[in-house]
C-alpha cells in the first residue's frame, strides 16, 4: 500500500531532497554548529552531549591533533603547541595583534598573516580554524549520516575584508561549501525572528568569555544595516572570574592571584567561574579555595560579586553609549536589545541593560547558542529547504573601500553601508608624460589618509601605451560579492589597448596555497588526499547535475531544440566522467564545461524570473 507523504510546514516536500545545511559560529573562545531539524534550529552536540567546542587545537608529537576540550585541558602543560583564540590572528600580521608579547607562542612574522611555530610546523589562524571547522563538519555529518551540503559561517560585524577572506579560506580548507558569511549580530537577530518583526533599531550586546562586542542594527524593508559597532577585544567573562577570585583570596587573607603558582591560580579561577555561574541562579554559594595544599571554605553572595565586578559592567555600558552616540541615537530609540554570549546570563548585566534602555533585554534563547541558531536558519533558507521567498537578507559593507591617490590620500570608491553585492568603477589617469605603468593600492577604512586605513592589496597595471600626462583613461572596478568579499580590476581604456588584472586581497590564499595546505596534512580529514578530493569533485558534480536538471524541468521551454540537446550532452558527459574518472581534474573540467554551456540558459532564466517578479507585483498593485 502506498503511503501518503505529509511534509512538515515550511519544509521542502520531498525529504530525500532536503539538503543538510548548517550554521557555524566560529568563536574566539568556543564554536558551535547548528542545523534546522523538524522545522526548529538546534545546536548539534558531540557524542558526549556537549554542544560547545572550545576553539583550541593542540599539535601533538606524532603529527596528530587534539581539538576542543581535550586540547584545552592540556593547555597548561603544552602552551606553545596549543593554539587558543586563533580568531584574534585571522587575517592579521604580527604588528596587528595587540599584546602578542604576553602570549606563550613562538610567533613567525610573515607577510600576509602571522604564523605560530608549533612542533608540527608553522600554523596560521586559517589552518587552526580549519581544524575546528572540520571537527564541526564531521559532527554534523555523523548526526545526519549524510554529507553537509553547505554552511553559513558567522563573522563579527567589524571584520574587514582580510579577516572575512581568511575565514572563507579556513572553511574551504575544512572541505565546507560556504553558502554565505554573515555578521554575528545579524545572525542573533535572525534567531530571534527580528527580520519578521517590527522595523526599527536593535542593539546586540555580545559579552563572551574574552571579548565584548556591541552592534547597532537597523532593520528597514528587509535590509539589516549595521549602523555602528564598538566594543573591547580584551573584556569578557574571564575578567569577571578574575575579579571574584581576587576578592575571595583577599577576604580569606590569602596570597594575591599573582602570587599563586600557575596550578593554584588555574584552580582558584575555575572555582571562581563556577561560583559566578551558580550566582546567576542562587543568591549565595560556598566556594573552596585550595592554596598551599590547604582548602579554605567561604561563602559569597550575589551582592558581593556584583560589587566587585560593577566597574566591568559599567565599562560595557560606557562603550554601548559611545556606539549610540556614534549613530546619533538615544537609548529610547532602540526597539529591542538582543543578548549574546554566556556572560549575559549574569543578572547584574541584564539589570544594567534593562535600566539603560527602559525595557528588559531579549534573553529567552540560550545566549551561547543564539548566533549559531541564526546562522542555521539562514543556511536552511539558502539551501532551499525553507519555503521560498520568506527570508532575504540584504547586508551592507561594514567599511568603505578606496584607492590611494596622490599625496597618500584615499579616494573612496565604495562607501560603507552600501548594500551588497555591489560594484563601482572609477576612472583615473596618468600624471607623468609617457607613463606606462600605474600602481593600484587598495585600502579599507573611513579615514582620509592612506596611512590610517588598512592596506588590502597592491598591484600594478602595466603596458599602458605612452601618452601625455592625463590622456590615459584607467578604469578601476571594485566589486563586493554577497559575502562582503572584494575583488578589484583595472583596465586602460584611453587607447585601443586594454590590460586587466583581478586581485584578491593580500591576505587571501591562492587556490594553489590552499591545495598546498591540504597536501601538508590535515589530521582530521581523510588520510588519503586523492580519495578526498575525488569525493569532493564527485559531490560537486552531483550538485551541478541536480541543479541543472531542476533548472531544465522548470524553464526548459526557454531553450531551442539544439540548445537543449547541447546541455543534455554536457550533463551526460559529466555524469559519465564523475562515475568513471579516477582523478578529480577530469571531473572538474567537465563541471566547468557544463557551467560554460549553461551560461546563456542562466541569463534567460534570470530574465524570466525578474519579469515574473515585476509582473506579480504589478498584479498586486492593481
Amino acid at each position: 500500500m502506498a503511503l501518503l507523504q505529509i511534509s512538515e510546514p515550511g519544509q521542502a516536500p520531498d525529504p530525500h531532497q532536503r539538503r543538510i545545511a548548517v550554521g557555524i559560529d566560529l568563536g574566539t573562545t568556543h564554536s558551535l554548529v547548528a542545523a534546522v531539524r523538524h522545522g526548529i534550529a538546534e545546536c548539534l552536540p558531540d557524542d558526549q552531549g556537549r554542544a560547545i567546542l572550545p576553539s583550541a587545537v593542540r599539535y601533538l608529537d606524532d603529527g596528530g591533533r587534539q581539538i576542543g576540550q581535550q586540547a584545552l585541558d592540556s593547555q597548561g602543560d603544552d602552551a606553545e603547541n596549543t593554539v587558543v583564540s586563533a580568531k584574534r590572528f585571522m587575517g592579521r600580521t604580527l604588528a596587528d595583534v595587540a599584546g602578542h608579547e604576553r602570549l606563550p607562542y613562538k610567533f613567525v612574522d610573515q607577510p600576509g598573516m602571522v604564523g605560530i611555530r608549533t612542533r608540527d610546523g608553522v600554523k596560521t589562524a586559517v589552518e587552526v580554524s580549519a581544524e575546528i571547522l572540520a571537527t564541526l563538519r564531521f559532527r554534523a555529518e555523523d548526526t545526519f549520516d549524510d554529507d553537509v551540503f553547505g554552511a553559513v559561517i558567522t563573522v563579527p560585524a567589524y571584520f574587514d575584508d582580510a579577516q572575512r577572506q581568511a575565514t572563507k579560506d579556513a572553511a574551504q580548507l575544512a572541505g565546507l561549501n560556504v553558502l554565505r558569511l554573515i555578521n554575528e549580530p545579524t545572525a542573533a537577530a535572525i534567531a530571534y525572528g527580528l527580520d519578521e518583526g517590527v522595523e526599527g533599531l536593535y542593539a546586540v550586546y555580545d559579552l563572551g568569555g574574552g571579548t565584548f562586542d556591541i552592534s547597532l542594527l537597523r532593520l528597514a524593508r528587509g535590509v539589516f544595516e549595521v549602523v555602528a559597532t564598538g566594543g573591547d577585544s580584551a573584556l569578557g567573562g574571564d575578567d569577571y572570574d578574575q575579579r571574584l577570585a581576587s576578592a575571595l583570596l583577599q577576604r580569606a587573607g590569602l596570597k594575591s592571584l599573582e602570587q599563586l603558582t600557575p596550578r593554584e591560580r588555574r584552580r582558584v579561577q575555575t572555582e571562581a567561574r563556577r561560583a559566578k555561574e551558580a550566582l546567576s541562579d542562587a543568591d549565595e554559594v560556598s566556594v573552596s579555595l585550595e592554596v598551599n595544599g590547604e582548602a579554605h571554605e567561604l561563602d559569597v553572595d550575589r551582592a558581593e560579586f556584583e560589587a566587585v565586578a560593577a566597574d566591568l559592567t559599567a565599562t560595557t555600558l560606557r562603550l554601548l553609549k559611545r556606539v549610540l552616540r556614534d549613530a546619533k541615537v538615544a537609548a529610547q530609540d532602540v526597539q529591542g536589545v538582543v543578548m549574546v554570549g554566556g556572560s549575559t546570563r549574569m543578572p547584574g548585566v541584564r539589570h544594567a541593560i534593562a535600566t539603560l534602555f527602559g525595557k528588559p533585554p531579549l534573553t529567552n534563547l540560550n545566549p551561547d547558542e543564539v548566533v549559531a541558531l541564526g546562522a542555521a536558519i539562514q543556511a536552511n533558507a539558502l539551501a532551499g529547504n525553507a519555503v521560498a521567498g520568506d527570508l532575504l537578507l540584504l547586508d551592507v559593507t561594514p567599511l568603505s573601500l578606496g584607492l590611494e591617490t596622490m599625496g597618500g590620500l584615499v579616494e573612496r570608491v565604495i562607501e560603507r553601508n552600501s548594500t551588497i553585492p555591489t560594484a563601482k568603477a572609477q576612472d583615473f589617469t596618468t600624471f607623468k608624460d609617457g607613463q606606462t605603468a600605474m600602481a593600484v593600492h587598495v585600502v579599507q577604512g573611513e579615514r582620509e589618509l592612506v596611512s590610517e586605513c588598512r592596506s588590502l592589496a597592491r598591484f600594478e597595471l602595466r603596458g599602458i601605451p605612452p601618452m601625455v600626462a592625463g590622456a590615459a583613461r584607467i578604469r578601476v572596478t571594485f566589486q563586493v560579492d554577497a559575502d562582503g568579499l572584494l575583488s578589484v580590476s583595472a583596465k586602460e581604456l584611453g587607447s585601443g589597448v586594454e590590460a586587466a588584472i583581478v586581485v584578491k586581497p593580500s591576505y587571501g590564499l591562492t587556490d594553489e596555497q590552499v591545495a598546498g595546505m591540504l597536501k601538508d596534512g590535515f589530521a582530521t580529514a581523510e588520510s588519503d588526499m586523492v580519495a578526498r578530493s575525488l569525493r569532493e569533485a564527485q559531490v560537486d558534480a552531483e550538485r551541478m547535475i541536480l541543479a541543472t536538471e531542476s533548472a531544465l524541468a522548470a524553464d526548459g521551454d526557454l531553450l531551442g531544440a539544439g540548445e537543449r540537446s547541447a546541455i543534455d550532452a554536457l550533463v551526460v558527459r559529466l555524469r559519465a566522467t564523475a562515475q568513471d574518472a579516477g582523478e578529480p581534474r577530469a571531473i572538474e573540467s567537465a563541471v566547468e564545461a557544463l557551467a560554460e554551456g549553461t551560461e546563456g540558459f542562466a541569463a534567460a532564466r534570470m530574465n524570466r524570473g525578474i519579469r515574473d517578479a515585476l509582473a506579480g507585483r504589478n498584479v498586486n498593485e492593481i
Binding site: 555591489t422 534570470m606 530574465n607 515585476l614
Partner: protein, 198 residues
C-alpha cells in the same frame, strides 16, 4: 569576470524596452529595470517595493543551490539592481541620470560655469559660514540652505515633468548648482561637528 557597470549609455536608452514584452537586459535603463515611468517625480514607497521584489528574484541568496553560471548571472543582476536603486533613490542622482539619458551630460568636473546670481549667493553663504561662531548661527544658516535646496529640487520637477518640451541643458545647469550646494552642506555639517565637540 567583467561586469558592465558603467552608467547606462544613451544608446541603451533608445534601445531600452518601453513595453513589458521586450527582454530585460543589464543594459536597460534604471527606469525600465524598475518598471517605473521615466520622469523625475517618484514614489519612494513604490521604488522600495520594486527593489525588494527585484532582489527577491535576482539576489545570489536565491541561487545558493544552483550552478556556478546561475550564481554569476545572479550577482551581475543584483549589482545592477542595487546600482539603479541607489541612483533612483537620490533625487539629485536621478535628475543627473535623466540628463545623461537625454544627451545633456552634467560634466561636473569640467563645466564650472554658473550664473552670476548663483555664484553671488554661494559667496554670501560661504561668508556667513565663516562668520558664524555659534551652533545656533550655523543651524540657522543650515536651515536657509536646506530650504533653498528643497525649493530648487521642486523646481526641477517643473522643469522636467511638467514642461511641454524639456530644456535638458538648463536642467543639467540646475543639477550642477545643486551639486555645489551639497558640497557646501557637507562643509556646514563639518562645522556643526566641530562646534558641538567644543
Amino acid at each position: 569576470m567583467t561586469l558592465d557597470i558603467r552608467p547606462t549609455p544613451l544608446e541603451g536608452a533608445s534601445t531600452a524596452p518601453r513595453n513589458a514584452e521586450a527582454p530585460l537586459s543589464l543594459q536597460a535603463t534604471d527606469f525600465a529595470l524598475f518598471g517605473l515611468p521615466e520622469r523625475f517625480a517618484l514614489d519612494a514607497a513604490q521604488l522600495d517595493a520594486k527593489w525588494k521584489t527585484l532582489q527577491g528574484a535576482a539576489h545570489p541568496d536565491r541561487f545558493a543551490t544552483e550552478t556556478a553560471a546561475a550564481q554569476r548571472v545572479a550577482m551581475q543582476w543584483a549589482i545592477r539592481i542595487n546600482e539603479a536603486y541607489r541612483r533612483l533613490k537620490d533625487p539629485l542622482a536621478r535628475a543627473a541620470y535623466l540628463c545623461t539619458l537625454h544627451g545633456a551630460d552634467i560634466e561636473a568636473e569640467s563645466n564650472t560655469a554658473m550664473p552670476t546670481a548663483f555664484l553671488m549667493q554661494q559667496m554670501e553663504w560661504r561668508d556667513a559660514l565663516s562668520e558664524a561662531g555659534t551652533l545656533e548661527a550655523v543651524d540657522a544658516l543650515s536651515g536657509e540652505v536646506v530650504a533653498s535646496r528643497n525649493a530648487t529640487l521642486k523646481s526641477l520637477r517643473g522643469q522636467i515633468d511638467d514642461a511641454a518640451s524639456v530644456d535638458w541643458r538648463a536642467v543639467a545647469g540646475t543639477v550642477r548648482g545643486l551639486m555645489f550646494v551639497d558640497r557646501f552642506m557637507s562643509d556646514i555639517d563639518r562645522r556643526i561637528d566641530a562646534l558641538s565637540l567644543q
